[in-house]
Symmetry: C2
Subunit: 199 residues, 2 copies
Amino acid sequence: MKYPTALQTLIDKLSNLPSVGPKTAERYAFYLLRQSPDRLKSFGQAISELQEKIIICHNCLSICEQNPCPICSDPARRRDVLCVVENIQDLNAIESTRQYDGRYYILGGLINTISGVGPDDLNIEKLLRTIKTGEVKEIILALNFTLEGETTSLYLTKILKDRLKITRLAKGLPAGSDLEYADELTLANALKYRSEMTK
Amino acid sequence: MKYPTALQTLIDKLSNLPSVGPKTAERYAFYLLRQSPDRLKSFGQAISELQEKIIICHNCLSICEQNPCPICSDPARRRDVLCVVENIQDLNAIESTRQYDGRYYILGGLINTISGVGPDDLNIEKLLRTIKTGEVKEIILALNFTLEGETTSLYLTKILKDRLKITRLAKGLPAGSDLEYADELTLANALKYRSEMTK
C-alpha cells in the first residue's frame, strides 16, 4: 500500500471513472486532499445523494427533478412531434439549437449486436404505448449516424412506418466544412441529399 | 440549467478537479448516475471523510494513518541519512526503487519566485530542528531538476552545508536512452558527471 488506506480507497474509486487511470486518479485525490473539509463534505454528499434527488419523467423517460419533466409539462411544446434520442445528452444537444418545439423520447441506448444490446433492452414498449394515443403525427429519429444508430433507426422505422410519419436528421456536410477535407461518405451523402437553391 | 439540479451540482464540482472540463465532468457524472446507490454512498463517503482519516507524521511530515508513519517507525531504516523530497508522490517514486534504506522529509513545495512561494512557505524550520539533534549525517536532495527544484536545492545547500553533508540525485542520461535523441543539456550533464568504468 503506497498511501494511507483512506487515500488509497479513494484513488481506487476514482480509477473506476471512465478513462481515468491510476495516475489521474492520484492527481484528483491529491487535489481533493487539499480542499477544505466543508468543500469535501459537500462534494461527497453530492455523489452520495445523487440518485435520491433524481427521478425519471414518466412521459419521455428523461431524468429530471419533477414528473412530468419541464419539457413534457410545457404547454408551448407541440404534442404532435416526438423526437427520439438515445439519451439526455443528445436531448440537450438538440435543445441547444433552439430550433425544436416538440417533445422528446429517451430510447436509453442503441441496438448493438456485438455488445448484445437488442430491441428489448431499449425503451421501445413505452414508445409504442405513447404512439397508440394517436396524438403524435411525426417521429423524428435523432440517433447517431453510426452502425448502432442506423441499425436502431431502421428497426424503429420498420415497426412504426405504417402508423405515422417517420423522419430522420439530415445527412450532409457540417457547417463551415471544407470540401477538400470532407470524407467520401459525407460528400456522397451531401450530393445525394442536395437541396434546391430556391428553398 | 441543462440538467436536474443535483446532477448539475455534481458536474460543477467534478469540473473543479484538475484538468477536467465540463464535458469530462458530464461523462463522470453520467457514469456515477448508473452506479448502484450503495457504490455511490461509499464513494461519496470516501470523499467526505478523506481528511478525517489522514494525519501528518510529526517526523517526516508525510501523510499517514499513524504517527510516526511506518517508514519513520521502522527500526531497519537508517537514521543518519535524510532524503528531502517535495511531496509524498516523489517519496513513493524513490521507495519504488527499493534502493534507499534511510528516512524521508517532505518539504511540501518548491521555491517559486513567479508564484510567490518563498522559503518560509516550505517546511524548512522543522528540517533545521531535525538536523539539530546531530543524528542526521547526510541530506540527499531529491528535488525535481526544474528551475524551482534547482533553486530550492541551492537554497537548502546554502543554509545547511556548514552543518552536514549535502548530496543530490545524479544528473545524466535516463536508462535505455539513445544519445542521438538526448537533449543538449542532458548530454552535457552526462559528459560533465561521467564516472570511471572501474567503479
